[in-house]
Amino acid sequence: MMNDNEKLFNSGILTEEKQEAVLPPMDLWEKKKNGLVVIECPQQIPCNPCHDSCPTGAIMAFENIIDIPRIDYEKCTGCGRCVARCPGLACFVVDLTWGEENEALMKLPHEMLPLPRAGDEVACLNRMGEEVHRGKVINVTEPWKDCTRVVHVSVPKDMIMKIRAVKVV
């Protein structure tokens, strides 16, 4: 029988034990203005637009197109272009330098209506779609002008590994 973690993972939810692999090194993360990318792409699929869309080469070239993305965090500027380009909406940027000490700024992909606007209070959803916080939208960008928005939302620092989407309420 599958345990609960396996069951969740098999239905598209990243579980605690698999998280470590995708996190940037904390010492660099805490200092990096504009944040660093977190990519939750644990399955080998034939896809590389994250690399193609990265202007600094932080998402490294794929030796094989099915590779899982590898990141040179030194080069990542937190620009969010990959966030808006990834077909799987699997890229997120987390800026730990933003705001007050216990705050962080998350840049999340968004393709649903209604569109959030700067200043809105939105529901912040975890990987299962449960509302875990109400956050304030700081900015909404559309890096590729292709209807995929990047929503910048303020969240408590201890929630950065929980929140993965926002919903206008």
Binding site: C41, N64, P87, G129, R164
Partner: protein, 367 residues
């Protein structure tokens, strides 16, 4: 009787690509498609495609369709490509190689092509449960057509059956169209589609019921709900039936290749479960056992549209090169690249099934 050098049957991603390549080698091409609009399933896809830059990865499916239409338009203007939409190819007569077709519901005619590329696509599979015939039980492709091409919501609350890529993507598209998704039911212990597709709908609160099946659709004249139940590893029902409130049941069980014309033509066929049904045996250039017939796209085995486009390009080019000796060099140059791209698209864990299926039907070249 109308004649042409190359007839392409089907105007989806594979057929359009085949027609473009064949016309680029200077062949006269006729493309027939049964739908009112060209583009097959491509024009219904609002999500960004996977793959690499060559397959327009990161671009939405319907926009990739527009790029193909631009190429089609160019060859139409040059008089190399003639398009028949709302035209169903109804038969291939192997005695004389004549093809019959009907425009709309009433007009019948015949055409004699020198070469044919069959890019007929696929059709929805169904599973048996009481009331599976009621209006409100719709194929996933039909749901996409209704909402993404014509702007009509299929219902207010949908239960999705099947968590392959189509079930996952269509669930996401339903939410974009403002339709609620009650849940996704999947018989296997894991989703069949890309994990990231599942993640993006899970985080919007849609439940995925793994190891569950639909046992009954509720309703008298139309769908008024559904009953689902857990199954064990042997697919035996366990646990308690659960009622789901919905007015639409979307079937994303899978597709099976549309291959009637290939059968009529006497192509060597094989049942390959990994390719989801009967498919024609073919060589690396997509030529079937019938020397004048090529196959491409879902008709050659169910895969992603990105692969269909590359297969279409190979088939169109190869069919054209068989008529234009000067095209053989071009075929040699381009096909190396195309084959490499297909290999990439089929790499890794998610492509294992396809690779296994292809091993059973591909031959090096026909003797």
């Amino acid at each position: 009787m109308k004649t042409t050098e190359i007839l392409v049957v089907g105007g989806g991603p594979a057929g359009l690509s085949a027609a473009i390549e064949a016309a680029s080698l200077g062949c006269d091409v006729v493309l027939m498609d049964s739908d009112l609009k060209l583009g097959g399933q491509l024009i219904k896809q609002t999500h960004k495609f996977f793959g690499s830059r060559e397959e327009f990865a990161g671009t939405r499916g319907f926009e990739i369709g527009n790029l193909l239409f631009d190429e089609v338009e160019k060859y139409k203007k040059e008089g190399k490509l003639e398009i028949f939409s709302n035209t169903t190819v109804t038969g291939y007569y192997k005695e004389d190689g004549i093809v019959s077709y009907t425009i709309g519901e009433e007009t019948y005619d015949l055409i004699k092509p020198q070469r044919i590329v069959m890019a007929t696509g696929a059709q929805e599979k169904r599973i048996a449960f009481p009331n599976n015939d009621l209006p409100g039980v719709y194929g996933a492709g039909a749901v996409q057509t209704l909402m993404n091409v014509y702007g009509v919501a299929p219902g207010e609350k949908v239960l999705m059956i099947g968590a392959g890529n189509i079930g996952l993507i269509v669930s996401y598209q339903l939410m974009q169209a403002g339709v609620k998704v009650a849940g996704i039911v999947e018989a296997m212990p894991r989703i069949g589609g890309y994990w990231v597709h599942a993640a993006k709908i899970r985080r919007l609160g849609v439940p995925i019921y793994l190891q569950h099946t639909i046992t009954e659709a509720l309703g008298d004249k139309v769908i008024e709900g559904a009953v689902i139940q857990e199954i064990d590893n042997t697919f035996k029902l366990v646990g308690e039936p659960m009622k789901i409130d919905c007015d639409t049941i979307c079937m994303a069980i899978g597709l099976t290749p549309t291959c009637e014309l290939l059968w009529s033509a006497g192509c060597e066929m094989k049942f390959v479960p990994q390719l989801c049904g009967y498919v024609a045996r073919r060589d690396a250039m997509m030529r079937t056992s019938h020397p004048d017939i090529w196959v491409a796209g879902d008709a050659a085995g169910i895969e992603e549209a990105s692969a269909a486009m590359v297969e279409g390009r190979i088939a169109g080019l190869a069919a054209a090169a068989s008529l234009k000796p000067e095209g053989c060099q071009m075929l040699k140059e381009k096909s190396t690249d195309y084959l490499k791209r297909l290999e990439n698209l089929r790499a890794g864990e998610t492509g294992a099934k396809i690779r296994c299926g292809l091993e059973q039907v591909c031959c090096e070249c026909w003797g």
